[in-house]
């Protein structure tokens, strides 16, 4: 028995030396250990033919043999795996340096991307998104914003009008030339404190290097008690630092004139290209970004807000303008020509 066990072990050991892969190893193990007529089973089955007194030691021999064989297989398996992993790189190498071309990423339009970004930034300061109609009434677009009927902006040269009847108390329908009507619509619906940001499409009958008949603006409106000019500057300063992703950028305000704010300002941002040294893009280191001001008491009155109790600030900037400045796009009209070679850069 012992001899036979020894022979089996030697034979297995010899065969294992020739096995080079896991599949053959598993097959061989099955043939040797697990099958009903496996080599080992045949050995084990001989126990029952032995005399009773030899059976005990034969049983020990069989068990020992099984253990030895199992260890041999485990050892061989480990050796094969070690080899397999050690040579993995050479055997299973695949070139991954080239991206497949089946799927490409699309692009958000830069104006839309900025639209969301503007809303997100002002959200951090508690401004809520608001919107209003693009086909507006004269009342909301001009009259309630303290612009008299004779105001130049309401001329046909500056504003698109709709072929439709005038409506009492609302006037002529038109395409809004700015997002400011939403100031009044917001005040009609909400009581102070108000903080809204209003991005949206606006229209003016102009088309040249710096104008497209359709463009986007965003309006900001804050109404509360005792609002200061400093808070307006601080708010815009926060915005430009976030939007231009540069803590060094800052705003300055200069006196300007708008009918719906008093005082009114032109807002400049320190040039993002030259950092106030002066360059081809800016004016002495400053870039004009848009208008702002303290809400005119007459506008508050039109909005149904007590101007003796509350005041506030508002601003209205062109989204295309800040996009063009931030990304250095040479011609604003390119944004609307469906020029994919431009759009795909964003």
């Amino acid at each position: 028995m012992d001899l036979e066990a020894k022979q089996i072990i030697e034979e297995v050991r010899g065969r294992l030396l020739q096995i080079r892969d896991l599949v053959s190893l598993r097959e061989y193990r099955f043939d040797t250990l697990d099958r009903k007529d496996a080599v080992f089973s045949r050995l084990a089955s001989k126990i029952k033919d032995l005399p009773k007194e030899e059976r005990k030691s034969a049983g020990q021999t069989v068990n020992l043999t099984k253990k030895v064989l199992e260890d041999l297989f485990v050892e061989k398996e480990k050796a094969l795996k070690d080899y397999f992993y050690a040579t993995l790189r050479e055997r299973e190498f695949i070139d991954l340096t080239v991206s497949p071309d089946r799927k490409t990423l699309g692009h958000l339009h830069p104006v839309t991307a900025a639209y969301f970004e503007v809303v997100d930034i002002f959200k951090e300061l508690g401004f809520k998104f608001a919107s209003g109609p693009e086909v507006e009434w004269f009342y909301y677009a001009f009259e309630a914003l303290n612009m008299p009927i004779t105001h130049a902006a309401s001329d046909e040269f500056e504003t698109y009008y709709i072929e439709a009847e005038e409506v009492e108390d609302r006037g002529r329908p038109l395409l809004r030339p700015h997002t400011s009507p939403v100031q009044i619509r917001t005040m009609e619906k909400q009581k102070p404190p108000i903080r809204v940001v209003v991005p949206g499409k606006t229209y003016r009958p102009q088309s040249d290097v710096s104008h497209t008949p359709m463009f986007h603006q965003f309006e900001g409106l804050l109404i509360d008690q005792n609002v200061s000019i400093g808070e307006l500057v601080g708010t815009l300063d926060y915005f430009v630092k976030r939007f231009f992703r540069d803590e060094g950028v800052r705003v300055r305000i200069r006196p300007y004139h708008f009918r719906f704010t008093e005082p009114s300002f032109e807002v400049d941002v320190s040039c993002v290209v030259c950092d106030r040294e002066g360059c081809r893009l800016c004016k002495e280191g400053w870039l004009e970004l848009g208008g702002a001001g303290m809400v005119h008491p007459e506008v508050l009155r039109y909005g149904g807000i007590d101007a003796t109790m509350f005041n506030g600030f508002a601003f209205g900037w062109g989204i295309e303008r800040i996009v063009v400045v931030r990304s250095g796009i040479p011609d604003l009209r390119m944004l609307y020509e469906g020029e994919l070679r431009l759009l795909n850069q964003f």
Partner: protein, 812 residues
């Protein structure tokens, strides 16, 4: 407005003020200096000389030999080709060895045998004008031998100042000087005037004015002056006109322009001989009346336009431009000078309609101080009497209907503090306001609520601009300097939550599309008539723009597809695959919306999402599937129940169905509501856009923002037991719609957890197709065994047979 600092210095002392400082002070006070130009630099070698003699060059028929004194003992001999000079003229001279501003060195030369020891210069050569047709002739009384630059105050700096529309008063040197004087805290010196006496004039020399439209013109002042108007305009005045961007013409025109630039009040000079009668009439134009302006523009007038006329003809378009045939010239002996106050709106509308603009009209548009008409005439009188010895030859007429009440405004300390974030002393505020021309009416150091208040009267030149307390706050703030205001974050209460879940969801969907390879474009909201019709709508439903820039942009769109398809057409050649989308509004004509009048028109604008797909190398099914898959993922993002149904009446409920291939279009249904169409674009439309092949599109014809509602996902228990899968094949007609079958089978038994199309095989000859569905069963409390599966399958087969009439041919 161009502001020459040399000229400005006449009204306010600029000594010791650095140009850069002045520029930044002005800009921060609201007089934004856009550009700055230096004029008359490097004139160190130029001196003032007088031509003593001028003789023909002995060896030339176009050269002259001049003897020019520059104050030294020995006159210079200079050879010149200039034809505009004569002996006695005062001219700028550079001696040989000297250098011109352009760094050209003038050498002593011999020209055709005659020595020349210098050069007389043109305005252009000196860099102070454009004229190079001849030698610059200076004032007869200029001091010979003086350095030219020193005598005439060169170099000069010119600021280009942007004036806001509310500050018409700053379209004048005096107006700018007033601001600068306050900024520098220096005295403002007003120009000298000459008043008209009562005088005794003959009857025929009585001027009269009749204003027919007192709203269009509320003041009209005029006077006749007689003098020697043939003399040259003084050099400094010519120079100042040039600096201001105007062209010197002749004395009377120049003085009128000069005074306009100085005071901001336009005036006009008519030759008395060319005015019929002695009455000016200010009236509206007649229909068809003809008028030729000074610049040669011929106009047909109408009653929207205001004119100044005599008894017979139109003398000028009020506030804009004089007529060609009433102007003054060198031979004018008596001039009728007019200064009037015209309505800015009327002037603006006329300039818009006629395209005729002038320095005068731009001033009236921004409003002119009505108190100035007389002052302007008195200033002209002063200058013309000095220069041309002019005397009044008529009594001054001043038809004045100006009806502005004196206006007072009060400013309170606490309000100023709220805006500027800082306490201001009353005496500082008062001195700022007084210096700007606001007279104190009343002031108290401590009012009822603590703090001072001050009441001031608004000066005539700010009447249109200042009316409320905030206006005065601005006056103080801009002089104090906005840069001195401390920025801070908003201090007040935070309003309700700022989050907008609709917008968040929209952003998510758009970014989802981007990840799926779609590129967003933005196209104009406008459509042409053809595009509206192409999109399947009747023209009457579209909003029509009255003053469109072109017919291409006459209507507001009712569908995003026409513009998107246009983009496909123009980009297709360059791109094998195009996946474009747009999320924008469409606009419905109010009349067709069946909405109560009190609803705002917001309801008539809906935000659509449209996709167009074109792939030159993919098959039609592949392309349709790509878009279909995108829709599935997008609606998945929105967590919407979504179905595609191909029922004719549902599809045709969308006007845009006409844009789609009738056999390859489907309605998208979200939560039981049809919201749009998806399918292949009709070949007719493709052909119309001059394309060929397949274009696939989807338009979600419903307000997206309405559909975006953010719902909190709620946990549903799931089975932990393995799924049982099998498949079922049935025969159906060739044009079977499998979608409804799948949908129906999904609801037959709750253990059916998935029904999917596995295969669809068309048997050509039989006009039939066999459809294989993959079925998955699962339940909460155990494995669905063979018997149970058979039971479910039985139910499904019964539904297929009873409700659809399909016979099952195989099961596995």
């Amino acid at each position: 407005m161009y502001v020459s600092l040399n000229w400005l210095a006449e009204y306010v002392n600029l000594e010791g003020v650095a140009v850069a400082d002045l520029r930044s002070r002005m800009s921060s006070a609201g007089l934004s200096v856009e550009r700055e130009e230096r004029v008359g630099e490097r004139l160190d070698d130029i001196v003032i000389g007088r031509i003593l003699r001028k003789e023909m060059h002995p060896n030339s028929d176009h050269l002259w030999v001049c003897e020019v004194t520059i104050g030294q003992n020995e006159p210079l001999q200079i050879v010149t080709g200039a034809q505009n000079i004569k002996a006695g003229d005062i001219v700028p001279v550079v001696q040989s060895g000297g250098v011109l501003p352009d760094r050209t060195r003038i050498e002593a030369t011999v020209l055709r045998g005659v020595h020349s020891n210098g050069m007389m210069c043109s305005a252009k050569e000196l860099g102070i004008g454009e004229d190079h047709s001849g030698i610059l002739i200076l004032d007869a009384n200029a001091k010979v031998g003086e350095y030219f630059a020193k005598y005439y105050g060169f170099p000069d700096v010119v600021f280009d100042v942007e004036i806001t529309p509310n500050r018409g008063d700053l379209l004048s040197m005096v107006g700018v000087a007033r601001e600068v004087s306050v900024l520098l805290n220096r005295q403002l010196k007003m120009p000298k005037l000459k008043f008209f006496g009562r005088g005794n004039f003959e009857e025929e020399n009585v001027l009269a004015v009749r204003i027919e439209d007192k709203k269009g013109c509320d003041r009209f002042s005029a006077v006749a002056l007689t003098g020697d108007f043939s003399v040259a305009t003084p050099f400094y005045i010519q120079q100042r006109l040039i600096r201001a961007g105007m062209r010197p013409i002749s004395l009377l025109v120049d003085i009128s322009n000069y005074v306009m630039l100085e005071l901001g009040q336009p005036s006009h000079a008519y030759d008395a001989r060319k005015v019929f009668g002695n009455e000016f009439v200010v009236r509206r134009g007649y229909f068809g009346e003809e008028f030729e302006a000074l610049d040669g523009t011929k106009l047909e007038l109408d009653p929207h336009m205001l004119v100044v006329a005599d008894e017979q003809k139109v003398l000028g378009l009020a506030g804009i431009m004089g007529g060609k045939y009433s102007g003054v010239g060198k031979d004018t002996k008596t001039v009728l000078l007019e200064a009037a106050h015209f309505d800015g709106v009327l002037v603006r509308r006329t300039t818009m309609r006629t395209n005729l603009r002038s320095e005068a009209s731009s001033r009236f548009e921004k409003k002119v101080d009505p108190a100035l008409t007389l002052v302007a005439l008195e200033r002209c009188y002063e200058l013309l009497s000095q220069i041309a010895g002019a005397a009044a030859s008529s009594r001054l007429v001043d038809e004045n209907h100006v009806a502005y009440d004196p206006k007072t405004v009060t400013l309170r300390a606490n309000k100023l503090k709220i805006y500027l974030g800082k306490d201001f002393a009353l005496n500082y505020v008062e001195s700022v306001l007084n210096n700007l021309g606001f007279e104190t009416v009343d002031s108290t150091h401590a009012g009822e609520h603590g703090g001072w208040h001050i009441t001031v009267e608004v000066p005539s030149w700010r009447l249109f601009d200042i009316s409320i307390e905030e206006d005065l706050i601005e006056e103080v703030a801009r002089i104090y300097g906005y840069e001195n205001i401390q920025p801070s974050m908003p201090k007040g209460r935070m309003p309700a939550r700022a989050q907008d879940s609709k917008l968040e969801l929209k952003k998510g969907v758009l970014i989802g599309l981007v990840v799926l390879g779609w590129s967003e474009v933005l196209t104009y909201s406008f459509n042409s008539k053809e595009q509206v019709e192409l999109s399947g709508y009747e023209l009457e439903r579209a909003v029509k723009v009255r003053n469109a820039l072109s017919e291409d942009q006459r209507y507001l769109r009712l569908s995003l597809l026409p513009n998107l398809l246009q983009l496909v057409a123009s980009n297709r050649r360059m791109n094998e695959e195009l996946k474009l989308f747009e999320c924008s509004r469409v606009y419905h004509q109010r009349l067709y919306a069946n909405l109560p009048e009190e609803l705002v028109n917001e309801e008539l604008e809906k935000e659509y999402l449209s996709l167009v797909y074109s792939n030159r190398v993919a098959g039609v099914v592949e392309q349709l599937e790509d878009v279909s898959e995108t829709l599935k993922l997008v609606f998945g993002l929105m967590r919407k129940n979504y179905r595609l149904i191909q029922r004719r009446e549902v599809i045709e409920s969308f006007s845009s169905f006409k844009m789609f291939h009738p056999g390859r279009v489907v309605a998208v249904v979200l939560d039981e509501r049809p919201v749009g169409l998806f399918g292949q674009i009709h070949p007719r439309v493709v052909e119309y856009l001059r394309m060929d092949g397949v274009v696939v599109a989807a338009e979600i014809d419903a307000d997206l923002s309405e559909m975006f509602k953010s719902e909190v996902p709620v946990f549903k228990n799931f089975s932990t037991f393995p799924r049982t899968e099998e498949s079922l094949t049935f025969l159906a007609g060739k044009d079977v719609l499998v979608g409804p079958v799948i949908e129906r089978l999904s609801f037959v038994d709750e253990r059916v957890c998935e029904v999917k199309l596995k295969d669809k095989y068309v048997r050509g000859a039989e006009e039939m197709c066999s459809i294989t569905l993959k079925l998955v069963y699962q339940k909460m409390d155990g494995v669905v065994g063979q018997d149970e599966a058979a039971e479910i399958r039985g139910k499904l087969m019964k539904v297929l047979k009873d409700e659809f009439g399909f016979g099952v041919v195989a099961e596995s």
